[in-house]
Symmetry: C2
Subunit: 462 residues, 2 copies
Amino acid sequence: MPVNSFENYPMSWKPVLPRSSRPLYTALAELLQRDIASGALLPGTKLPPQRELADFLDINVSTVTRAFKICSDKGLLSSVTGSGTFVSYDVNTSTLIIPENPAAHHIELGSMMPETIPQADAITILLKMLAEEECKNLFQYSYQEEPRHKEAAAHLLNRLGLSVTDPRGLLFANGGQNATAAIFAGLFHSGDKLGVDPLVYPGIKGAAKLFGIHLVPIRQENGEMGRSALLAACKNDGIKGLYIMPDYQNPTNHIMTLSCRRMIAETAQERDLLLIEDGINSLFAANPLPPVASLAPEHCIFLLSLSKTVLPALRLAYLQTPLRWAAALEQALYHINLSQSSLLLEIASRLTLSGRLEHLLAERRRGAALRNRLADKILSGYTLLGAPECLSRWLLLPEGTSGQEFEAMSSERGLSVYGSHRFAVGKEIPVPAARIAVCAPETTEELEQGLHILKDLLDSLS
Amino acid sequence: MPVNSFENYPMSWKPVLPRSSRPLYTALAELLQRDIASGALLPGTKLPPQRELADFLDINVSTVTRAFKICSDKGLLSSVTGSGTFVSYDVNTSTLIIPENPAAHHIELGSMMPETIPQADAITILLKMLAEEECKNLFQYSYQEEPRHKEAAAHLLNRLGLSVTDPRGLLFANGGQNATAAIFAGLFHSGDKLGVDPLVYPGIKGAAKLFGIHLVPIRQENGEMGRSALLAACKNDGIKGLYIMPDYQNPTNHIMTLSCRRMIAETAQERDLLLIEDGINSLFAANPLPPVASLAPEHCIFLLSLSKTVLPALRLAYLQTPLRWAAALEQALYHINLSQSSLLLEIASRLTLSGRLEHLLAERRRGAALRNRLADKILSGYTLLGAPECLSRWLLLPEGTSGQEFEAMSSERGLSVYGSHRFAVGKEIPVPAARIAVCAPETTEELEQGLHILKDLLDSLS
DNA sequence: AAATTTGTCTATTTACATTTC
DNA sequence: GGAAATGTAAATAGACAAATT
């Protein structure tokens, strides 16, 4: 029996365990899950200490721990030894980032789509391929890895400042998300911890949840990961690695400084971290800083997706991994995908090796610059982070309006944008901000229209 | 201290725990893993009972259980309450089924490739697409699911005897392996059990291992799953579902009888099982039997991959799922793939809706029939299971030669085939047999050459 | 058919590490 | 800076269930 009566001590959660034959820990976990889903427990709520709950329910602490662990693994809770257990901030936020139904006639400024236009080169190449005699294997399996494809991959990676030393470290995935999923499946275990920026691409949050990986936000100094916070995460949370996007971080568009890149590379070597460097935007940079993978090549897997910078339909990402992880990663990719499409691989390789990819990139940069000039002009006076070559901008909101509220208000006005809550990790309340995908609308007219709606909305808030 | 001295009682495994600060259970698990990898513990070996080991090591039984569980999850062990723990039969067999390096000049009769030729229709369609005005979205993201693609999927599923009642139950994956991975990631948890035939497609074994799912072989009656064995697996192993391939099962090519289909459908409904029906070969059947999914539509996810029957490079599989699993499955697919390639989706839909797919199928059937006639003729006198429309045949070997040995002997003679050990699940020694992929060689001449080598080898064995 | 063997699961004990105050 | 609060992980005890003999 519980020793004390708790009626005088307010507890944030007083579950009533059903008298059932079910195991205590599953019953408790389900209660917790239900109460979070129903809204009875709001994001940020501090749960009672495990010992107090155990006492209240007259069960053992470890039984509570076990129930909490189940919910933690699902991303519902985040706990810190010494401070307590909290309901995660982003539990009820979808990580599916898909454009609104076009029938709704929303102006799409949410989803990270590149401009639709620049694809003439791809079509030319495809036509040429189909006219060739040897095209008979274009629709066959792509098992026999033609060295040409690895050459193309190496070429692009070199262009970004990586040195490809061994082709066995080069692998293919069906896009960046697919590459991340394979890394999680093949190199991580459920329950492993991965350090990330406090605001990250929602796809990572979703993939981490799917594979039971805990994201640990690393506190920032000057807008990027801080050394002391990173060391603390290694020591206290036992993070296995880091996910980083040094070039044009999604969603803030921050370009990581060289000193921070060096710091991360050194820390990874000291603490034997597994770095996942997402170079999805790196091809946009005219003069990119050295990737972290070049500073810590034995500790970093570099992802180069062609979806955002080249063509989404290629569904292709190149991976470069240190050899010690190559076998496990190759297996995971094989068991998730079996193979790549020979047709798409071939288009990508020809685009790269023919040099037409550079023209396409230049076109993308031109298009983005035009759109970003529009955004800067129309929203002048507001803080719009990001460079002219970015697919999206990060709009800081006037105090008093959360990202979530702003997203809702925009939606009422026929505009899709994504509030900062969608990118937030852990229990912290995110800064009020929203991501504006300037390249997503089909036409610049539509973009202009959307930006004016945004401006009016912002004006009305301040 | 241990009560007895064990020196007089032979134990199959006498590990020596290192004096380390590491947790006991991890240390023990690693020892076990090393001894299996090194060959000190051979497949099939029965390990000492957990209590005996615990006593010997002077630790608790549960600590041994925990160590064993780690290895079990990796597929190294299989244990049965009451009988003991055994080293799995297939631990050291790769589940990567990839053709030999072509430089080795092997004749490829191992990998399940369809014939290379029939793709003229696809090229015609692709050329037409590229000539159209509206082709501007072909290289863009495919988020806006054009209803046309779901129409095409529904058309093919209907053709196989399924009734598509709700388009929300229709989903897309990057091929059959990718669909399976998404089902495992989204609907299963690590440690869940899945019933399968005693011999299965190695891709399933690999994916199951990747996601920590235990495969439970269901004993057969008359060459297919038996009711009593299935019930036993439900009751004793607590299997969550079944993976089945009723049409031309890989590798045995067995076509499941209608009564067995009914039995599985009924059992799934009684025991609330999650059925995964792989229809990868179903389009080959001229008059297919009703799929299990049509008999138990609320309990069955049907997979229709286009890789083997249509074109491998399309990397496309259609999934039909009961609505209760649709959301979780869609999320898993999203977080693993983000999206499909619009280009490939479009080719597939046009092939289907234009009716050209039927021509292509007919061509595949013709080609397969020709190759299978060759095989039947050259290997007459030997048991070669499978129908004329199959991509591969299942060769029963003379007694005394295991599949593994036969695979090695073939390889010495410049021939790739896959022995039955690659398909075996659990601790049973597989029947001596090998899979002969008659459609894999580029030319029929090469096939003929390969078959003659096989015949000579077989003759020399009997 | 009953007793025994054997694996599995839940809940607990205990030690420990970090944060907070 | 030390004590208290708080979460975590390992090892254990004991009940249970299936298979064997």
